[in-house]
């Protein structure tokens, strides 16, 4: 298992997990290699790895690495 911090809390994922796997699991929605939902529509999410935004086009090719701090961000109510 690979130990990471996900949205501020400790989290473990299987070896060879990619960012697209991590996001799909977190939101319980299958994602394509382009990081977009297979059920259509837009996702409305972003990912930052160690405080750097990772474009969704790279989620599929980017492995989750031990010790990383990963944030999955979405739109919430706000002025």
């Amino acid at each position: 298992m690979t130990a990471i911090t996900l949205n501020g809390t400790p989290h473990a994922v299987p070896e060879d997990t990619t960012i697209v796997d991590l996001v799909a699991e977190a939101i319980s929605r299958p994602l394509g290699p382009d990081g977009r939902p297979l059920d259509g529509g837009r996702l409305g999410m972003a990912v930052a790895v160690d405080a750097v935004v990772l474009p969704r086009s790279r989620w599929y090719r980017t492995p989750v690495v031990e010790g990383q701090s990963i944030e999955i961000i979405t739109a919430v109510q706000g002025g």
Binding site: G44, V53, A75, G79
Partner: protein
């Protein structure tokens, strides 16, 4: 084919028929929020960016998509240019827009803009290709600097966020609108409809508000009121109001009056008491 709106709001080349931008903050019920947004007629709204929490059902994002309301992500909660840059990048990625409502606040008690960080962040975001909608103080000099740095819109506050104190310095807002070459959006402080109308009368291109509607006892009714107030203020601003003056000017003819028994009865002078029965 739809008829073009006669007086559209132009923001970064995009056209909106509504000049009310209603934010999404302040309501616990997404259903009520949706009703209020629809009642407001807004075509552009703001959202914040936060960690995804599992178990979110009908999400805000799908609500806005479903209703065709364009999203302006904000950088609420950022205290430094550095924080704001990361949040803006997350917003661009998540919501697929290079528009950002840039908020860099000084402290959590006042939520007033930290204009030093704001100017720094504006410059950096513009260089990264963002269209910056800068939430700022009501300082005309800062508004001018933001415009010089390439802000797509300048958004001075009427009063601190969520206070509902209205427009504390109308003179400054008018100075900003009279000198700006980019859209000016009155952002924050509005409490009720007359204040939204005043913002438009002072020359603002649009009004952004959230709490005034979402924390009202009847959000849908207040959203409707704001919709009308902004439209009314816009019309009034362009209608050429009469000059204010000290003394009355009759709107009824002063000639052709019927005779009275007592011509002495007509009061003269600068001051005259109101007389019963006339």
């Amino acid at each position: 084919m739809t008829t073009p709106h006669p007086d559209p709001l132009l923001l970064d080349g995009a056209e909106f028929s509504s000049r009310l931008i209603m934010g999404t903050g302040g309501l616990s019920s997404l259903h009520t929020l949706e009703q209020a947004l629809l009642a407001s007629g807004t075509e552009l709204t703001t959202v914040a960016l936060r960690r995804y929490a599992p178990g979110q059902g009908d999400t805000l994002f799908s609500l806005l998509e479903r209703n065709g309301i364009r999203i302006l992500p904000n950088t609420a909660g950022c205290y430094t240019a550095r924080d704001a840059l990361l949040t803006a990048e997350l917003g661009r990625e998540a919501l697929e827009t290079d528009w950002v409502k840039l908020e860099v606040i000084a402290d959590e008690d006042t939520l007033l803009p930290d204009v030093v960080e704001l100017l720094d962040a504006t410059e950096q975001l513009v260089a990264r290709g963002f269209k910056v909608f800068a939430y700022t103080s009501d300082d005309p000099a800062v508004a001018h600097r933001l415009e010089d740095l390439g802000a797509a819109a300048v958004m001075p506050l009427g009063a601190p966020i969520g206070t509902g104190l209205g427009i504390l310095n109308p003179h400054n807002i008018e100075l900003i609108t009279s000198r700006a070459d980019v859209p000016v959006v009155l952002d924050a402080g509005i409490g009720t409809a007359s204040e939204a109308a005043l913002a438009m009368e002072l020359g603002c291109d649009a009004v952004l508000l959230a709490s005034a509607v979402t924390r009202a006892q009847d959000p849908v009714a207040m959203a409707t009121a704001m919709r009308h107030a902004v439209a009314a203020g816009r019309l009034a601003a362009g209608a050429g109001r009469i000059p204010a003056r000290r003394h009355a000017v009759a709107s009824s003819p002063m000639t052709g009056l019927v005779d009275t028994d007592d011509p002495e009865d007509v009061p003269r002078g600068d001051w005259a008491p109101v007389r019963e029965g006339r």
